[in-house]
Structure formats: structure tokens, C-alpha cells
Symmetry: C2
Subunit: 282 residues, 2 copies
DNA sequence: TAGTGTGAACTTTTTCACAGCG
DNA sequence: CGCTGTGAAAAAGTTCACACTA
């Protein structure tokens, strides 16, 4: 993302495509599972299935790492685990701090998979003085005042932000000033960070909205297709999704105000073009 | 992902690129913030900055939705909020169930932004009988036995899985059989689902591993560049990241076993090619 | 005049298909 | 023979740059 791709063509031909990097952890997980079952080798086909990708893509991905397979046989599981781990930088362990120990932060702190693979929670940090010293996941929560000290004393370069949205930008600035160069952001905000700092975000509501988009599309197509293709097992008798039966009394009210005023002018421009049913203001 | 792109070219030219769909929630959030500050219009430049993308991309994205801007002026905030909301299917509200009320599930249930934008938590479900009836986020946890009933009675089409990895596949199957067609998966597993079901995954450890990759790369480049480019404010005197000063005594031990046995054979093939320092077995 | 909307160029990612090797 | 490794083609996504218009 902010990995300054333009001004340095990587130390040689060592440029692994970003899309590939993003899949390596997937392969690694699948391989680890195989390793635990003492499976000695896998074919690209099998491994791809386990990782949920297609085999051509997997082979191409691996080809960026080197020729680690054996033609006619497949890949040596242990060896590949090692190579991918190394490529991902998991042969060393990374101290990580979690900032914001609310519901989510605490859940993250308790998450086992954290320490499992090369990461170590070095500290939990929260701005609430009442939290200070209280143990979460067997570790005392420390106060934000000590953030800089904690970062530098532990050589932390990866920070996890689980604060409310309002605090996230400021926290990121302090983390970065203290030496952090990679941030995993759970707060629903866009962080602006200097070049050379990587940010990845995890956002529940964005993911849900993407699903809603596809869900809506499905509902539309289903309706259009009438009774031809079998609907994927519609629940009760009614239209299924578009109209939520009032469980807790929350009727399907429009969650968003229809436009009015100056918006109406813009609206006129396109008019209620096809696809738009109901909800559209009169 | 599993959106069967091959066997139906979408109902016309209504094909909004997936990459664009993934950004719409971002724009929506930025627009909502502007709306709350009663800003009437924004330029692509301003909005793009707020959403953390560049303006050309934003304009292109919007062009897939229609011509909603005004040349020389910009976009009407309210109107755009409405259009994007509609496009994403947020003008109706979507009942959602959360399965797996552990640390994470509870955190999700408590997450405000959930209900804020078109989503309503219809039920919390857990397999642990001890959890049944206990209130979480002001809502009684229900037992997995009633999963199917809950789904169909509430017309739920979106499910969130926050169970341990081992349970996730089975839970997804039950959800799908009961009528769910979109799943947000927090469990660290690949779910295999039938065509027509969308799955999005959120995976902490994958994100961290991707960050570690870039972090490692940075450390490498930094070392290579010697004292030329100024390191992004190195904490204490030493090399910064590659070597974590023993805070809690956890030295940077190799987290992964070096290969051996049959792996060694494969190793010989490539030999200890350049880039690989230390850690490599003798 | 300021800023949208968009063809066209370019980049990245995916897929195909098959030569080549153990 | 079976399966990897990879060029080459196709598709998807991004960026450029400018005509156009409110």
C-alpha cells in the first residue's frame, strides 16, 4: 500500500507480487495442517484445494519463491513450510503491541493464533487509567503514557490498533514516532501515515456491506429468474430476504434518508432509471 | 469469490467491478462523516483524500454507478450517500446471526457499528449449553440446536462465524442449509461452500503475516542501504527491528524448524542462494 | 473556470496450456 | 507417466490526460 514501489525496483528480481504475498499465509496454514498429520508431500492440486485456490495460481505463486517442487511428485511439506516461513519473515518472532483493550482488544489479546506463528504480544496498552494494571489474557494492561517507552524497550515494529475510531489516528502517530512501521488497524477509520509505514485494515462493517451488495444482487437475480433456477432453499414462504419478518419489532425501515432539497435537482438528471424499485422517493 | 462470474454475464451492463464494490463502503463512510458536518458538496479530490484513495480512481468508481456529480462543482453529499447506500443494499436492513460467542463473538456482538449501518443482530448462537440464556450485549445467547429455526424465522441471509476453526465448516454447512447465502468468517479456516454462497474472511494472523513480510523486507533494505537513507526514527541505538532487545527474555528464536531428512535433498537443489543469511541450517 | 466523466495506455493478476523433468 | 514450472494470452484493475460542461 504505502510501500513506495515507484522509487526503487527492489533489490533485484526479488519482487514477489503483492497478491502472492497475501496468499502465502494461506498456503502456510494448509501446509502446517498437513505437516501435523505427517503427510510428507503434496501435489499442487491437493494443496490448492486445501488452501481454497486453484492449482495454476498456486504453482505460479510458488514459482516466485523458487523451484521448490519435484516434477512428477509434488512438494515436500516440511521443506515448503520452512521456505514460506522464511519468506514471510516468521523464522524470527515479532513483538507486537495491542493498543485499545476494549472488547475487541481483549479478544485479540486472548486469541491464541497470535503467539502461535512468530508473533508475541509484548504489551497491552489502554488510555483508561482504570484499566492500568488489570490483567487481560494474563498480562497487565499498561497506560498509554508509557507507549513510547514500551515500544522502544521491546523493539516493537508492529502495532495493532483496536481503539475507538476517534483515537486511532493519534495513536498511530505516536506508534510511528516511537518506531513502529507496520500497523494493523481495527478501528473504522482511514489512517494517514508517512511513506514507508504499512497499514492493513480489518473492518467488520466494510465486509458486511460488501456481502450485502452481493446479497442484494442475488435477491434481484432470483426475482428476475422467476421460478426457473431453484432458489437456494428459501426459508419461510415469503420473498425471503428483501423483507425481514419483524422478529424484534424492527421493521425493514429504510436505513438511509432519501435525498431531498438540492439533491432532488441532481436526481432529476438521471430520473428513476430502471432497476430502482420501491424506496425511491416520489 | 464464489460469485459464479463465469456462467452469467450479469443482467446487462450492470457489472460493477469487484474492486469498486469493495471501496464503496469506504466512500460511504467518508460521505457520512461529511453529511454529519452538514457539508453540502465535495469534490472528487476532497472525498478521495478522506477515503484514502486517489481521485482518478474515485471518479472512475463513481462512473460505474452513474453520473452523479456536477462538473465544476463536485458531488452532492446527501445524494451520493443515498445512491451508494442503495447500491450496496443498505436501504433495507439485514438481519444477521453471530455464531460462536467466545471472546471474539462477544466483542462483535457489542460492536456498535454493526447495527449502525443497515445491519441488525438477530441472534447470538453458541454451542455451549452453559452460555444458553446468558445475556451478551443485551441479548440472550441461544443454543446451536435452534440454529435452523432462528435462521428461518428471522429471514437471515447473512451469518457471521466466530467459532473455533474446528467448528467453522460444520457451522457454515448448517447455516447454508438453513438459507444463509453470505458468510463472514472469522475462524482461521478455508470454508468450502457451494456455488452461489459468498464468503468473506477476516483473519488476524494472515494480516500479521503479510505485515511481517513487508517488515522483513524493510529491515533488509535498511541494512543494505547502510547509513544512506535515514531510518524511520530508530528507537534505541541498535539495528532497530531485526534483533529484538530481550525485554521479557524471549530472544529471537527461530519459530520454525529448519528442514531435514528428505527436505535436505530438495534443499541441495537450490543451495543456500544469496539472500539467505543466518538461520539457514549448516 | 473548476472539476467531472471517460477513452486509452499501462500495470497487475489470473488463467491457459504445454514443454520438460524426475 | 505425472506433475511442476513457465511463457504467453486474457482479464481485471489503475492511472493518465483531456474533452466537456454546469
Amino acid at each position: 500500500m504505502a510501500t513506495g514501489r515507484t522509487h526503487r525496483p527492489a533489490t533485484r528480481s526479488r519482487g514477489i507480487p503483492e497478491a502472492t504475498v497475501a496468499r502465502l499465509p494461506l498456503y502456510l496454514r494448509a501446509l502446517t495442517a498437513l505437516s501435523e498429520r505427517s503427510v510428507p508431500t503434496v501435489s499442487s492440486e491437493e494443496l490448492a484445494a486445501a488452501a481454497g485456490v486453484n492449482s495454476a495460481k498456486l504453482r505460479k505463486d510458488f514459482s516466485y519463491l523458487g523451484s521448490y517442487g519435484t516434477r512428477g511428485v509434488g512438494y515436500d511439506v516440511e521443506y515448503l513450510v520452512y521456505q514460506i516461513s522464511r519468506e514471510l519473515g516468521l523464522t524470527q518472532d515479532w513483538p507486537v503491541v495491542i493498543v485499545g483493550i476494549g472488547n475487541l482488544g481483549a479478544a485479540l489479546a486472548n486469541y491464541g493464533g497470535f503467539s502461535a506463528r512468530g508473533f508475541r504480544v509484548a504489551a497491552l496498552i489502554d488510555a483508561d487509567p482504570a484499566m492500568a494494571g488489570r490483567p487481560v489474557a494474563g498480562m497487565p494492561v499498561q497506560h498509554t503514557d508509557d507507549l513510547e517507552k514500551i515500544i522502544s524497550e521491546n523493539g516493537v515494529s508492529i502495532g495493532v490498533i483496536a481503539t475507538p475510531a476517534g483515537a486511532a489516528q493519534q495513536v498511530s502517530e505516536r506508534l510511528i514516532a516511537a518506531g513502529v512501521t507496520s500497523i494493523l488497524n481495527f478501528a473504522p477509520t482511514v489512517l494517514s501515515v508517512p511513506d514507508g509505514v504499512d497499514v492493513r485494515k480489518v473492518d467488520l462493517s466494510i465486509e458486511l456491506q460488501i456481502l450485502a451488495f452481493h446479497e442484494q444482487r442475488k435477491a434481484g437475480e432470483e426475482a428476475a429468474a422467476a421460478g426457473s433456477a431453484p432458489a437456494p432453499s428459501a426459508p419461510s414462504g415469503d420473498g425471503g430476504v428483501a423483507d425481514a419478518p419483524g422478529g424484534a419489532g424492527a421493521a425493514p425501515v429504510a436505513a438511509v434518508e432519501p435525498p431531498a432539497g438540492r439533491a432532488a435537482a441532481a436526481l432529476r438528471k438521471n430520473g428513476p432509471e430502471g432497476e430502482v424499485p420501491a424506496v425511491m422517493p416520489a
